[in-house]
Amino acid sequence: MEPFHNVKSIVTPLDKVNVDTDQIIPKQFLKLVQKSGFGKFLFFNWRYDENENLKSDFVLNNSKYDDSKILVAGDNFGCGSSREHAVWALDDYGFSVIISSSFADIFFSNCFKNGILPITLDSAIVEKLQHETDQIEVDLENQVIKTSSENISFEINSHKKKILLEGLDDIAQTLEHEEKISEFEEKSTVPSVL
């Protein structure tokens, strides 16, 4: 995983609550067996009409947001299915920061496995950021969002922060605990399946 660097861009405001992962990436695109190329299917049913033409009223189709790397959405973002394809699609499309007043647990966890930073803020601040038209900067090291008018600090678990900043391979880290895992297995009383 690539280390996370500061992100500077305008925000894409997605003015919806309870955005579920079925909306982020509909099921017909889950049949692929690789991780890449999901960006073009992001928010598919909101972005395209039945003839697969772009819908002009959907925010992602407004060209002024083309280079945006920061998505700001309403409460309970990423609820529903555990599909990591949702995060792969957001990443492939170009988002590296998602800001919301709350995230669903599995989606939240999936973000960190793919170098995406989900930031939880009070809903009043989220709403304000949705109306921010200037560039903002997300500084993970210092846990602050810099807008043209203020600095907004945010919380993040120190372990998760380290994983993003250093781009760590989760599994390699875990396998350093091999001895402890083996010890656990020796005393476990749970039988094998087979």
Binding site: D22, Q28, L30, N76, R83, I181, F184
Partner: protein, 471 residues
């Protein structure tokens, strides 16, 4: 101070623990399916890693499989590739697979308990959010993403932040347990706590209203924990649990000594405390019908659709969500639920496609016909459920009523296979999610119990099944 059931399972699975950091938790059972695993196996290959414990890993194919004639080739090439990929991965990494022709094939959350793979007090994961189903047996069962699937394959562990504890106490007795089902209890809970009400928590369902339920009904409850946002749902094991798992194909040899241990160790202590509590009294609850585009948008069958103002309780964002939902569903506030006409009926999914669900639904339709404007299907949760139902002659009741009787799979719950709604079609569905487009682009889903779905199929619109003789 006493401990909750969750805390006991958690503590007995800690491999590594440090202050203010996630804990490394050992995983006892890993269930794998075709949709969320290919990239995980690729990751193992790229890094030259093995599956650490193939003997704790079981795979099946469910999301993508056709539910029509299995002797025919799979027409959708991308689905065929995904299914073939799982076969190859299981072969390469030495994992036991119940493939499309196996008598044990079925929805992963139906076959786990049915085969005795799901056990009390264990940790279970699967790359699927409805893994919470297995919590009905007192297992800590978590849905995970594909990166975590890879992590578990490689290490048999997961880094997890300790969730908070949430007690949902269900009190009272249903007056008509054939008409008001486990599905109605869990939809009532979600309607009250909201779709994010359980975020960051593990729910333990407790109380008379829960212990009264059969194991299959308890699975329906735990299955939809994720629809309330919870990380997992749990029910303490009791004699019903132990009886259910005895003599299954994969029930462990030393089962009796395991049961002795579970009886002592798998209860929440009387002096334990929860981080939060919600109490539902079920003495007077009604059958539930969802009207919107998330499972919290639900009301009683004898009510009318609420206005966005009534629904949102002053929350502007929720109000906007309800307006969008009504527009998508092509419904108006004030319409009686019983006046809503439907086009399709789907009885299936990991929520409601077990034998008991099919028995209850068959009672409603026995000797009747599906309404002429409705097409209806039954997709048993597993090939074993299908076989048991056929031995009881249930398939004849469904087929005689003009239901389609299919092979096992996830089917129209998420519409990855050819079973989908057409744009604008309205469906009474026993599944778990009524999200926009979930069952097919433009499709409109109403979540209901199997008896409610069956009654809607016969009548062409929703009916209050409390009016029927279901005994």
């Amino acid at each position: 101070m006493g401990k909750t059931l969750f805390e006991k399972i958690w503590e007995s699975h800690i491999v590594v623990e440090k202050q203010n950091e996630p804990a490394l938790i050992y995983i006892d059972r890993h269930l794998v399916h075709e949709v969320t695993s290919p990239q995980a196996f690729d990751g193992l290959r790229m890094n030259d890693r093995e599956v650490r414990r193939p003997d704790l890993t079981i795979a099946t194919m469910d999301h993508n499989v056709p539910t029509s004639d299995r002797s025919l080739p799979i027409l959708d090439q991308t689905s065929a590739v995904q299914i073939k990929t799982l076969e190859n991965n299981c072969k390469d990494f030495g994992i036991k697979l119940f493939d499309i022709n196996s008598p044990n094939q079925g929805i992963v959350h139906v076959i786990g308990p049915q085969l005795g793979i799901t056990l009390p007090g264990t940790t279970i994961v699967c790359g699927d959010s409805h893994t919470s189903t297995h919590g009905a047996f007192g297992a800590l069962a978590l849905g995970i993403g594909t990166s975590e699937v890879e992590h578990v394959l490689a290490s048999q562990t997961l880094w997890l932040e300790k969730p908070k504890t949430f007690e949902v106490r269900v009190e009272g007795k249903r007056k008509n347990p054939h008409a008001v089902t486990a599905k109605d209890i869990i939809l009532s809970i979600i309607k009250n706590i909201g779709t994010a009400g359980g975020t960051g928590t593990v729910i333990e369902y407790r109380g008379e209203g829960i212990t009264d339920l059969s194991m299959e009904q308890r699975m329906t409850i735990c299955n939809m924990s994720i629809e309330g946002g919870a990380r997992a749902g749990l029910i303490a094991p009791d004699q019903k649990t132990f009886d259910y798992l005895r003599n299954r194909e994969y029930t462990p040899q030393n089962y009796d000594s395991l049961v002795d241990n579970w009886k002592v160790n798998l209860q929440t202590d009387s002096d334990a405390t929860f981080d939060k509590t919600f109490v539902l009294d079920i003495n007077d609850i009604a059958p539930q019908v969802s009207w919107g585009t998330n499972p919290g948008m639900t009301c009683d069958v004898n009510e009318s659709i609420p206005s966005p103002d009534e629904f949102s309780n002053g929350d502007a964002n929720q109000k906007k969500g309800a307006e969008k939902a009504l527009e998508y569903m092509a419904l108006e506030s004030g319409t009686l639920i019983e006046d809503i006409e439907i086009d399709r009926v789907f009885i299936g999914s990991c929520t409601n496609a077990r034998l008991e669900d099919l028995i209850e639904a068959s009672k409603v339709i026995q000797g009747q016909k599906v309404a002429s404007n409705v097409s209806a299907m039954v997709v048993p949760g597993s090939q074993m459920v299908k076989k048991q139902a056929e031995e009881m002659g249930l398939h004849k009741i469904f087929i005689d009523a003009n239901f389609e009787w299919r092979e096992a799979g996830c089917s129209m719950c998420l519409g990855m296979n050819p079973d989908i709604l057409s744009p604008g079609e309205r469906c009474a569905s026993t599944s778990n999610r009524n999200f926009e487009g979930r069952q097919g682009n433009g499709g409109r889903t109403h979540l209901v119990s199997p008896v409610m779905a069956a009654a809607a199929a016969i009548n062409g619109h929703f009916v209050d099944v409390r009016k029927l003789d279901l005994n």
